[in-house]
C-alpha cells in the first residue's frame, strides 16, 4: 500500500477541499467581453482616432501597473494577467473624448493605475475607482482637451480620417475646429448659463437616441450596447441589479420631477439617462467591486447616491457631466455605508441582536 505513503500526502489543508476554480482574470475577462460590443460600436462611430486613443490608454495603464509592481518588487506578469489594469485602462479610454491626443491617454492611463490604484496598495485596496480618478484628474487638469467632442462621422464615412490620417490626428496636432461639436449636456449647460431656455435650445427636439449617433465619448454614445453589456453581466452573475437600477432611477426620478416643474430649466429623464456617462456609470463604473459596498442594502444606497449626485452636479454644478464626480464621492462613502448597512445575519435582527425564539406549535 505504498500509494498511501505519507510523503504522497503533501497537503493537509483546511476545508473546503473543492472549489469553483474561478479566478480574478475570469471575472475581468467577462466584464471586458460585456464592454466590447459598445466599444466596437464606438470605433465604428468615431473611426481610427478613437481606436488609437483606446490602445494608447490601455497600454499606458498596463505600463503604469507594471512600473509600480516592478518598483515594489512584486510579481509583474501574473498581476498584469489578472486583467484589472487592462480593464481600468479600457474604462478610462471609453470615457475620454474619442479624438483626444495621445498624451491625454498616456497621462490618464498612468494616473489611473499609479495614483488611482497602486499607490493605495494595488488591486482590491484602492478607495476610488481608478478609471474615474484618472478621468477627473484629466478633466481638472486639461479642461480644454477633455471637452473637445467630435460628431460621429463613422469609420468609413467620406469625411472620416483614414488610418494614416488618424495617426496624425492622435499623435500630431489638435483636432480641426471643423470637427468639434458639443455634447448634449454641455450644450444645455452652456445655453442655460447664457440665459437661453432649454425649450429654445432644443426647439427641434433633443438630440437623444438609442443608437447613440451623437457627440460624446465611446462609453456614452452606444447606450443600448452598454445597457446590453450590463444586462449580460447580470445574467453571468457578475453584478446584481441593485446598483445600476438604483442609480438610473435616482437620476431619472429627480430629472422627471424637475422637468415636470420647469421644462425650460430641467432636462427630462430620458435625456439624463441616455446621455453622458449615466449608462456606463451605472453598469460598469459604479458596480466596480472594490469601490462599492458589498451588501445589497448598501449597494442600493450607493447606487441611489451616485444617481442623485449625478443629477445634482449636472443640473446645478459647474461641469456639464457629473457621473465621475458622483461615483468618486460615493466611493468615499463606501466604507461608511459598509459599516452602517450590513446584511441581516441568520438568526439575528438587523441590529445584530439574536432574534426572539418563536415556538413551533
Amino acid at each position: 500500500m505504498n500509494m498511501l505513503a505519507s510523503s504522497a500526502l503533501p497537503s493537509v489543508a483546511a476545508s473546503p477541499h473543492a472549489g469553483q476554480l474561478g479566478s480574478v482574470s475570469h471575472v475581468m475577462l467577462k466584464v471586458m467581453l460585456a464592454l466590447a460590443p459598445a466599444t466596437a460600436c464606438g470605433f465604428w462611430y468615431f473611426g481610427w482616432p478613437a481606436f488609437n486613443l483606446w490602445l494608447v490608454t490601455v497600454l499606458a495603464a498596463l505600463a503604469g501597473e507594471a512600473l509600480c509592481l516592478r518598483l515594489m518588487a512584486k510579481p509583474v506578469v501574473p498581476t498584469l494577467l489578472d486583467g484589472s489594469a487592462l480593464l481600468t485602462g479600457w474604462l478610462l479610454a471609453v470615457s475620454l473624448p474619442p479624438w483626444a491626443p495621445w498624451w491625454l491617454g498616456v497621462i490618464g492611463g498612468l494616473f489611473a493605475t499609479v495614483i488611482g490604484k497602486q499607490v493605495f496598495g494595488g488591486i482590491g485596496c484602492n478607495l476610488f475607482n481608478p478609471a474615474m480618478v484618472a478621468r477627473v484628474a484629466l478633466l481638472v487638469s486639461f479642461p480644454v482637451v477633455m471637452t473637445g467632442w467630435v460628431a460621429p462621422i463613422g469609420l468609413t464615412g467620406a469625411q472620416a480620417p483614414g488610418w494614416l490620417e488618424s495617426l496624425q490626428l492622435t499623435f500630431g496636432g489638435s483636432v480641426p475646429d471643423a470637427y468639434t461639436s458639443a455634447s448634449l449636456l454641455g450644450q444645455a449647460k452652456t445655453e442655460l448659463s447664457r440665459g437661453v431656455s432649454l425649450l429654445q435650445t432644443f426647439a427641434n427636439g433633443l438630440p437623444v437616441s438609442w443608437s447613440g449617433m451623437r457627440p460624446g465619448s465611446l462609453g456614452e454614445t452606444a447606450v443600448l450596447l452598454i445597457a446590453a453589456g450590463g444586462i449580460a453581466m447580470m445574467l453571468m452573475g457578475l453584478i446584481t441589479w441593485h446598483i445600476p437600477v438604483s442609480m438610473l432611477l435616482a437620476i431619472a426620478i429627480p430629472a422627471a420631477i424637475g422637468h415636470a416643474v420647469n421644462p425650460a430649466r430641467y432636462l427630462d429623464a430620458g435625456a439624463h439617462v441616455l446621455s453622458g456617462g449615466a449608462m456606463l456609470g451605472a453598469f460598469f463604473i459604479a458596480t466596480d467591486y472594490v469601490t462599492s459596498p458589498s451588501s445589497r442594502g448598501g449597494q442600493l444606497v450607493f447606487g441611489a447616491g451616485c444617481g442623485l449626485l449625478t443629477w445634482v452636479i449636472r443640473t446645478y454644478g459647474g461641469y456639464p457631466e457629473g457621473v465621475a464626480f458622483a461615483v468618486l464621492l460615493m466611493n468615499a462613502l463606501t466604507p461608511v455605508i459598509d459599516r452602517a448597512i450590513k446584511p441581516r445575519v441568520y438568526g439575528r435582527n438587523w441590529r445584530g441582536q439574536p432574534i426572539a425564539p418563536r415556538k413551533e406549535n
Binding site: A14, H17, P343
Partner: protein, 497 residues
C-alpha cells in the same frame, strides 16, 4: 423567504455543478470484511470522553461495552467485533493536526462472536425515559457530523416540549451518499427510528427533509412513511449547505433559529436519518452503535461506493478494501466542503464518519490566492448572511475582536465562501484560526481570573497567618510579662537594673 429577502437575492449557499455523488451512490451496498485490528476512539462525541471498562488483554465480544459514558453529556463505546484488547492509549486522531487521542485497540479474532442482544418488540410501549436510556446505552450520537449524544438531546427536547422533529436527509456535501444509501436501502428502519424518537421526545410531527437530487431515496422514504400521517417527507432543493440544521429548519418551517441558541429553542429538534436508523436498531434489535455506512469516494478510489464498516477501522484498511487506482493527494474524512484532511491513513474512523475521500491532485487543485477584489461572491454565498470578506480582512489585520463584532461566532465553517471565491482566499482557515485565537484568549482570561483569585486567597491567608502569629506572640508576651510581674512583685528588688 420574504419578498424583501427574495429581492435581495436571498439565495444562500452554493450549487456545486458536479456533486460527484454518482456513480458511488448507485452502487450496491458492500459489507467490509473484518480487518486485523480496530482502534476504537474514546471520544467520538461532543462532551466528556468515555472511560474504558476493559483492560489490555481482555477478550471482548461484538456489541460489548468497552468504555462507559462519563457525565451527562457523553456516550459509551462498544466493541465492533470480537477479539482481544491489545492497547489502550494514544493513536493519531483523524484531524489535520496529526495529534493523538486515546483509543482502545482490539486485535480481532475474525470470529465476530456477538454478545446476546436483547431487543424490544414494541418500543413505542416503553416509557419515553426508558427509550432514552436505551438510546444512551447504545452509544448513539448525532451521525450527521455534529456528534451530540442523542439521548441528552431527546431529553432536552422532551423538557422543552418540542412538537416537531426535523429529520435531516439533506446530505448536501458533494461525494457523500451514506445517508442516501441508508434511506434507499433501510427506509423502513429510518421511519421506525423516527417514530421511536417522536415517542421519546413527545413530538407530534416529523418533517423529513431530503434534497431533490436523491429521487430514489425520496421514493423509498415516501413508501415507508405512507402509513404514518405524522411523518411527512419533504423534498427540498439540492443546495449546499441544506444539510446544516439551521438552514434545513428554515426551509422546512420558515423560521430561523436565534443566534447562539439551539433549534430546540424554537420547538424543533433535528436528527439525522442515519441516527434514526441507529435508534431503530438499538431499540428493536438491541444493537449498539458500532458500525455504520461509510461512503468511500474520490478520484483516487478504484471502486467508490458505500461500505458498511465497523467503527474504528483504519482508513488505510478501508481504502485497501475499495482499492486505489492512483496515489491520493489528500485524504479527507467527511465531505470535501467541511471534512478534515487527514495527516496519513493510519487513523481510525469514528461514529460520525459518513465518508472517506481519497482525492487526486486534480480534484484539490486551486490556483494560488490573489488579492480580494471585494466582488461580494462570498456575501452572496454565505448561508448565515455574514460578510466573509470583511471578516477575513479583519482577521488578516490581526483584529480578532473586529472579526468577532461581525458575528464570526455565527460562522458554520461550511466553506461556501471559500468555494466561490475567485481570488481563492483561504477564508475558512482564517476564520478557524480567528475562532481558535478568540477561544484561547477567552480561556486565558478565565485562567487569569482563577489565578488572580488563588493569589488573592493566598495573600489573605498569609496576612491572616501573620496576624494570628503576631497576636499569639503578643498574647504570649503579655502572659509572660504578667507572669514575670506577678513573680517579681514580691521581690522586686531582685530585678537587675
Amino acid at each position: 423567504m420574504g419578498i424583501l429577502e427574495r429581492l435581495n437575492g436571498g439565495r444562500w449557499g452554493v450549487h456545486p455543478h458536479d456533486d460527484h455523488k454518482r456513480p458511488a451512490a448507485d452502487t450496491p451496498l458492500r459489507v467490509m470484511p473484518l480487518p486485523a485490528k480496530l482502534c476504537v476512539p474514546l471520544l467520538q462525541h461532543v462532551g466528556a470522553p468515555a472511560k474504558p471498562v476493559v483492560a489490555v488483554g481482555d477478550s471482548v465480544l461484538r456489541g460489548q461495552l468497552i468504555a462507559a459514558a462519563q457525565g451527562a453529556v457523553s456516550a459509551p463505546v462498544h466493541a465492533p467485533s470480537s477479539g482481544v484488547v491489545t492497547a489502550i492509549g494514544p493513536v493519531t486522531a483523524p484531524h489535520p493536526s496529526g495529534l493523538p487521542f486515546d483509543a482502545i485497540t482490539i486485535t480481532l479474532d475474525g470470529e465476530d462472536r456477538a454478545l446476546e442482544a436483547a431487543g424490544v418488540d414494541d418500543p413505542l410501549a416503553l416509557e419515553p425515559a426508558e427509550v432514552t436510556r436505551r438510546i444512551a446505552d447504545a452509544g448513539i450520537v448525532g451521525l450527521g457530523g455534529a456528534t451530540f449524544p442523542s439521548a441528552p438531546k431527546a431529553q432536552l427536547g422532551r423538557k422543552l416540549e418540542v412538537q416537531t422533529l426535523v429529520i435531516n436527509g439533506g446530505e448536501c456535501e458533494p461525494y457523500l451518499s451514506s445517508d442516501d444509501s441508508v434511506m434507499r436501502h433501510r427506509a423502513d428502519d429510518v421511519i421506525d427510528g423516527v417514530r421511536i424518537l417522536m415517542h421519546a421526545v413527545g413530538a407530534r410531527t416529523a418533517l423529513v427533509g431530503i434534497e431533490d437530487n436523491k429521487p430514489e431515496a425520496i421514493a423509498a422514504m415516501r413508501e415507508a412513511a405512507r402509513a404514518f400521517a405524522a411523518i411527512r417527507i419533504c423534498p427540498v432543493p439540492a443546495r449546499y449547505p441544506m444539510g446544516s440544521d439551521r438552514q434545513l429548519v428554515e426551509v422546512l418551517t420558515g423560521k430561523q433559529v436565534p443566534a447562539g441558541a439551539r433549534t430546540a429553542s424554537i420547538g424543533v429538534l433535528v436528527n439525522n436519518v442515519s441516527t434514526c436508523a441507529a435508534i431503530h436498531r438499538a431499540l428493536r434489535h438491541g444493537e449498539a452503535l458500532y458500525r455504520r455506512i461509510v461512503t468511500v469516494n474520490g478520484g483516487a478510489v478504484a471502486a467508490p461506493g458505500n461500505v458498511l464498516a465497523p467503527v474504528g477501522v483504519l482508513v488505510e484498511d478501508l481504502l485497501a478494501f475499495v482499492g486505489l487506482k492512483e496515489a491520493p493527494a489528500r485524504l479527507v474524512m467527511g465531505g470535501p466542503m467541511m471534512g478534515l484532511a487527514l495527516p496519513h491513513a493510519q487513523v481510525p474512523t469514528v461514529k460520525a464518519c459518513g465518508g472517506v475521500l481519497a482525492l487526486t491532485a486534480a480534484e484539490i487543485a486551486r490556483p494560488a490566492p490573489s488579492a480580494c477584489i471585494r466582488c461580494g461572491s462570498c456575501v452572496k454565498a454565505c448561508p448565515m448572511g455574514l460578510q466573509p470578506l470583511e471578516i477575513a480582512a479583519r482577521v488578516r489585520a490581526g483584529d480578532y475582536d473586529g472579526a468577532a463584532s461581525l458575528q464570526l461566532d455565527d460562522c458554520l465553517a461550511c466553506g461556501c465562501c471559500a468555494y466561490v471565491c475567485p481570488s481563492n482566499l483561504p477564508l475558512v482557515q482564517s476564520f478557524q484560526h480567528a475562532k481558535g485565537t478568540l477561544w484561547a484568549r477567552a480561556q486565558q482570561k478565565k485562567r487569569n481570573a482563577l489565578t488572580r483569585e488563588l493569589a488573592d486567597a493566598r495573600r489573605e491567608r498569609l496576612e491572616r497567618d501573620a496576624r494570628e502569629r503576631a497576636e499569639a506572640a503578643a498574647k504570649r508576651k503579655a502572659a509572660r510579662a504578667a507572669q514575670q510581674a506577678s513573680a517579681a512583685a514580691p521581690g522586686g528588688q531582685e530585678m537587675p537594673s
